[in-house]
């Protein structure tokens, strides 16, 4: 069964390419969100297995969204992403409950699968 993905990023052009890339690799993109609040709402509504989550969101840090998602029952697997380095965000990247981090320029279905394994 295809894996349901929620893509969260405030940059529309990136969401287009991310969707294209993940669908080409067999993922089903069930929803997109452009900020933290709508990301949490979409996660509750569509119950994705995976959330591709940009850290730099306009209303709150993606790391905060990750922490909140981790507290939900049946929490999705969160994969963090950014144009910045993971190192720029410090310890919270590992402690917020996400499965891992993929730099945007290296995004692919395989990179995500590696983190979920």
């Amino acid at each position: 069964m295809p894996v349901a993905v929620l893509i969260v990023d405030d940059n529309a052009r990136f969401r287009v390419r991310a969707r294209r890339s993940l669908e080409a690799d067999g993922y089903t993109v069930v929803a997109e969100a452009a900020d933290g609040a709508s990301a949490l709402a979409a996660a509750r509504l569509h119950r994705p297995s995976v959330v591709l989550l940009d850290i730099g969101l306009p209303d709150m840090s993606g790391l905060s969204v990750a922490e909140r998602l981790a507290r939900e029952p049946d929490a999705p697997a969160v994969v963090l992403t950014s144009t910045h380095d993971a190192a720029d965000f410090g310890d919270r990247v590992t402690s917020c409950g996400a499965r891992g981090f993929v730099p945007k320029s290296a995004l692919s279905g395989d990179a995500i699968a590696a983190l979920l394994a």
């Binding site: 052009r13 990136f14 390419r17 890339s21 080409a24 144009t83 320029s105 995004l107």
Partner: protein, 497 residues
């Protein structure tokens, strides 16, 4: 007699009167006064003469005034050299008497001469002549010598007192003319002296101030106690804590306002209880200038930091995003290469578009940081490019072809950029003109638009940042922006000839 004479008149007038008084009371015929020549102190000259009524003295007096005598020469010279009185029974029989011929024709025979002496030495000599030869009268000589001493001391005191008055007058003139306030205080803390600068600065007249307690007068209430304690401690221990150092304190004006003051206190060296002189300078302006300097430095550093943050943001939001998109497009093209080459080609075309966009944005970013055209070609190509990119029609009226120092060119360039931005964004102008001319040793930049007026330098960080940049180069920035319309941004930057 000599004392009263010397006190009432100028020394020279007093000596002339003394001559007549002595001559008349002795009943002798003629008297002369000799003093050293002003710039040749070893020569004596006759400065005053007297003769009794009826004496044919003209020739002798003329002869006396005409000659100058060296030390030891003639009767005056003799007394001058020895400092002792002398008596000549008959000058016509004396070997050391140059004026003998004139003396004969005047019928003069006996003569005596006595010195006018003071603590400083012999100030001059006085001679007297009479009509017949006489034997030395030692009693008379002693008397006139005592008179000479009295006259000498009186003249000396008079000269000293005049010198002191002149010195005091000079000091008073210095205090009156001084730009700094000079306030003198006695050991009880009362004002003794208050110069005109102090009157102007503190707002009290000297006559009001003198005699008043200085702390009550010019020291703010909350500082008075520590002033009084400091003074008391100094008087008790003689320990100098604040003398002869530059202090910054607060002064109180007559109208109740306070202001920052730079103060130096010295103790005046006179016998008895101490007197202190304070030199005060109103440093309100200097403090304001220092504060503005600190503030503008902080603004400049903050502007540099803000520019860096903006740069990071622009790179992140712009060029980096484009490169991410490029990477994802190429990756997609890669995966499609074998099974769907047509789709792969579409993806590669899209990747090339992304690359164009990224390059364009980076170029724009670089221009915003510091345009290559300015560095390479100077103001003309850089301003032409600015005018071409302006969203409203911009005419470049004049721009020098010469090159200037990099900071000057940068200031001129960013002045035009700011002017064009404001014309489009705030003034909603329809036309804008740019004129840059090199006049004397200044580069004058004007950006004139026909839009809404009412702009101010304080408004907007862009203009304030420009103002700081221009001030750092000792330039000037002006905005003429009447509410009726139109704005002229004018910047002048010193640039050498």
């Amino acid at each position: 007699m000599a004392r009263s004479l010397a006190q009432t008149a100028e020394p020279s007038e007093a000596l002339a009167r003394a001559l007549r008084a002595i001559g008349e009371s002795l009943g002798w015929r003629l008297g002369t006064l000799w003093e050293p020549v002003p710039d040749r102190p070893e020569a004596l000259t006759c400065v005053e003469t007297w003769h009794a009524f009826g004496v044919p003295a003209e020739e002798f007096e003329t002869a006396s005034r005409a000659i100058s005598l060296a030390s030891g020469e003639g009767l005056p010279g003799r007394v001058w050299a020895s400092g002792q009185p002398a008596w000549i029974p008959d000058v016509l029989a004396d070997e050391n008497f140059p004026r003998a011929p004139a003396a004969r024709r005047a019928g003069l025979h006996a003569a005596f001469c006595f010195p006018i002496r003071s603590a400083r030495g012999v100030l001059g000599v006085i001679e007297f002549y009479t009509g017949e030869a006489r034997r030395p009268d030692l009693g008379l000589l002693r008397t006139v010598t005592a008179i000479g001493d009295q006259i000498g001391q009186a003249v000396e005191r008079r000269r000293d007192s005049e010198a002191l008055s002149a010195k005091e007058a000079r000091h008073r003139a210095m205090l009156d003319a001084a730009l700094d306030c000079v306030v003198t205080m006695d050991h009880e803390g009362c004002v003794v002296d208050f110069n005109p600068a102090a009157e102007r600065t503190f707002g009290h007249t000297a006559s009001d101030a003198v005699g008043r307690d200085m702390a009550e007068l010019i020291i703010p209430r909350e500082l008075r106690e520590s002033h009084r304690r400091g003074l008391a401690r100094y008087l008790a221990t003689e320990k100098e804590v604040i003398l002869d150092r530059r202090l910054e304190i607060t002064g109180l004006r007559a109208d109740g306002t306070t202001f920052p003051v730079e103060l130096t206190i010295t103790r005046i060296d006179v016998p008895g209880p101490p007197t202190f002189t304070g030199y005060l300078r109103d440093i309100t302006d200097r403090k304001a200038a220092e504060a503005e300097l600190r503030a503008s430095r902080a603004r400049i550093v903050e502007a540099a930091d803000e520019a860096r943050r903006r740069l990071e943001r622009d790179l992140h939001d712009g060029a980096q995003q484009r490169l991410v998109e490029l990477a994802l497009d190429l990756r997609m093209a890669q995966t499609r290469l074998d099974d769907d080459p047509a789709r792969a080609r579409e993806l590669l075309d899209a990747a090339l578009d992304d690359l164009q966009e990224a390059t364009r944005e980076l170029r724009e970013l670089a221009r915003g940081i510091h345009p290559a055209a300015l560095t390479e070609g100077g103001l003309r190509p850089a301003l032409e490019a600015l005018a071409a990119r302006s969203s409203i029609p911009a005419r470049l009226v004049a721009v020098p072809d010469a090159r200037f120092a990099a900071p000057v060119e940068a200031a001129a360039y960013f002045s035009v950029a700011e002017g064009l931005t404001n014309a489009a964004r705030h003034a909603a102008a329809e036309n804008v003109e740019v004129e840059v001319v090199h006049v004397d040793s200044r580069l004058c930049v004007e950006v004139r638009d026909d839009g809404r007026g009412g702009a101010e330098t304080s408004a907007g960080s862009g203009l304030r940042g420009l103002a700081d940049r221009v001030a750092a180069l000792d330039g000037q920035i002006d905005i003429v922006s009447p509410t009726s319309g139109g704005t002229v941004l004018r910047v002048e930057i010193p640039c050498g000839s």
